[in-house]
C-alpha cells in the first residue's frame, strides 16, 4: 500500500516537473534576471534608484563562431559588404575574409563589431541589446551577491582586467559565474548596450547640459553616487567616447530579451 503511494507520489512529481519546464520556456543559453532596484553610478538627476524589470540575458557574449553563422544568412553585414554608415573600416578587422575568422578563437567573443551590427544580430535572434541600466545591474553582481560594488576585491578584480592585454581572444565562460548565472560580464571584453549614447562627454566641442560636468569633474552632487566604483566610471567614460559605427578589439556584445507575459 505504502509502496503504491510512493509510486504515485513520484508520478506526480515527474508530472509537475514536466509541466514547470514546459511552462517556463527559458530561451536557450539565457537566464532570467530578477527584478530589482539600484542607483546607477550615473544617470538619474534625482539620485533615485532605477527599477529594472525582470528580463532574459545571454549567459555568454556572442562568439566568433556564432557571428559567422549569422553572417552566412546576412550578406549585408559581411566585412566586404557592410555600409560605412553602419560600421567603420576596422569592422571584423582580424577576420581573414567575409566568412572566415582566421586565427581567432571560435569560442572567443566576437569583437571589432559596431553597434548597428550587434543590434542587427540580436534582432535576428528575436532578441535585443540590453539597456545600459540593465547591463550595469547585472554587472554589479559577483558570485554571491546581487550588488558587490562596494567590495574592494570585486573592484580590484575588474580593474586588474582592464590592465590585461588580449583578453578578447579567450573562450567565453572562463571567468566567474555571477549571482544570476551570467558569465564574462567582466574579464574578457566590454559590451555594447542599446542606449550607449545616453552618456555625455564634456569638452569644448560638445557643449551639452550640465550633467556631464558631474560625470567628469566628480562634483558629486547629482550623479556620481558611488565614486568608489572607479571601474564602472571607466565603462561610462568609454561609452561616452564611442560612436555607433565604431569598432574596437575589446568591444563585443550579448543579447537580452523581454519576458513576454
Amino acid at each position: 500500500m505504502e509502496a503504491q503511494f510512493i509510486k504515485r507520489f513520484h508520478y506526480c512529481l515527474i508530472l509537475l516537473f514536466w509541466v514547470s519546464i514546459s511552462f517556463s520556456q527559458l530561451p536557450k543559453n539565457m537566464v532570467t534576471i530578477g527584478e530589482g532596484n539600484y542607483i546607477p553610478l550615473y544617470g538619474t538627476s534625482d539620485k533615485k534608484p532605477v527599477t529594472i524589470k525582470s528580463f532574459y540575458l545571454d549567459i555568454y557574449p556572442v562568439t566568433n563562431q556564432e557571428y559567422l553563422i549569422f553572417l552566412k544568412t546576412n550578406s549585408d553585414y559581411r566585412k566586404s559588404t557592410i555600409k560605412r554608415l553602419f560600421a567603420n573600416t576596422t569592422y571584423l578587422s582580424e577576420w581573414k575574409s567575409d566568412l572566415n575568422f582566421g586565427e581567432l578563437n571560435p569560442s572567443a567573443p566576437v569583437t571589432n563589431i559596431s553597434w548597428f551590427a550587434a543590434k542587427k544580430y540580436c534582432d535576428c535572434q528575436g532578441k535585443r541589446l540590453a539597456s545600459l541600466d540593465e547591463w550595469e545591474y547585472v554587472a554589479m553582481a559577483d558570485e554571491k551577491r546581487k550588488d558587490a560594488r562596494s567590495r574592494e576585491e570585486f573592484n580590484k578584480y575588474i580593474l586588474s582586467w582592464y590592465e590585461k592585454n588580449k583578453t578578447y581572444n579567450i573562450s567565453v565562460g572562463k571567468t566567474f559565474k555571477n549571482y544570476w548565472g551570467v558569465y564574462d560580464m567582466h574579464g574578457l571584453v566590454w559590451e555594447w548596450t542599446f542606449d550607449f549614447n545616453s552618456i555625455f562627454l564634456s569638452g569644448e566641442s560638445r557643449k551639452d547640459k550640465d550633467t556631464d560636468k558631474d560625470l567628469f569633474c566628480g562634483s558629486g552632487s547629482v550623479n556620481a553616487t558611488d565614486l568608489m566604483n572607479y571601474a564602472a566610471f571607466m565603462r561610462y567614460a568609454f561609452r561616452g567616447s564611442i560612436k555607433a559605427n565604431y569598432t574596437t578589439k575589446n568591444l563585443g556584445f550579448r543579447c537580452a530579451k523581454n519576458i513576454s507575459n
Partner: protein, 197 residues
C-alpha cells in the same frame, strides 16, 4: 502608382534578416554607403502621415533632435533653426528641408508636433517634424551622434547638434553647442543647395 505601392510592399517583405535581393528600382541610382537613406524605418510627420526618410532624398536636410516639452536648451535650438532658415536665400529654399526629430515620441504625438510647429511659426512646406518609436529614435540619434537620456519623467538631457546632410543623405556638416555662430551652417547649406541647381 500601383506599381510603386507594389514595389514598396515587396521591398518591405524582403527587408528582413535573410535579405539577399534588393529593390531593383533603387539600383538605378544606388544609395551611397554613408547615406542616412540606408535606414529603412518608418516615421510619422506633424500631419500624421507615415514617411520613410528616403522620401526626403534629393534635398539638402538640416536636422535637429528636440522634444517639445523642453524648457532649457531646445527653445534656443529651435530659434537657431528658424534663424538658419531665414538666412537661406530665396532661390535655394525649395532645395532645403528643415527637419526636427523628437526624442520623446511618447509625449510628442503628431498633434503635439503640429501645435509646436504653429507656436514656433514653422509652418511652411520646408518644415518637417518627425517622430517614431523609441528604438528607431535611438538608432537615428546614433547616426547623428546625438546622445540623449531621459533624466526625469519630463526631462531629457541631450546633445545640441544641428546636422546638415547633402541631397544623397550624407552628413556634410555639424554645428555643435548652444549659442554658437550658425554662419558656417548656413554657408554649408547654400554650398550643398547650389549643387542641385
Amino acid at each position: 502608382m500601383k506599381k510603386i505601392i507594389f514595389s514598396l510592399i515587396t521591398s518591405l517583405l524582403i527587408l528582413g534578416c535573410n535579405s539577399k535581393e534588393e529593390n531593383k528600382e533603387i539600383k538605378d541610382k544606388p544609395i551611397t554607403d554613408l547615406s542616412i537613406y540606408n535606414l529603412p524605418e518608418k516615421w510619422t510627420n506633424q500631419d500624421g502621415e507615415d514617411i520613410e526618410l528616403k522620401e526626403l532624398r534629393g534635398k539638402v536636410l538640416v536636422m535637429v533632435m528636440i522634444y517639445t516639452s523642453c524648457k532649457a536648451a531646445c527653445p534656443r535650438l529651435v530659434a537657431d533653426m528658424r534663424h538658419i532658415e531665414e538666412q537661406i536665400p530665396k532661390e535655394y529654399k525649395d532645395n532645403v528641408q528643415l527637419v526636427l526629430v523628437s526624442i520623446d515620441p511618447k509625449i510628442d504625438t503628431p498633434e503635439r508636433l503640429k501645435e509646436f510647429s504653429i507656436e514656433n511659426k514653422m509652418i511652411g512646406n520646408q518644415w518637417v517634424f518627425l517622430r517614431s518609436n523609441e528604438e528607431n529614435t535611438r538608432e537615428f540619434a546614433a547616426v547623428l551622434a546625438v546622445n540623449y537620456k531621459k533624466i526625469s519623467p519630463i526631462d531629457f538631457s541631450h546633445s545640441n547638434i544641428i546636422s546638415v546632410f547633402n541631397a544623397e543623405g550624407e552628413l556634410s556638416f555639424q554645428q555643435e553647442g548652444l549659442g554658437v555662430s550658425y554662419n558656417k551652417t548656413v554657408s554649408k547649406i547654400i554650398e550643398e543647395a547650389t549643387k542641385l541647381e
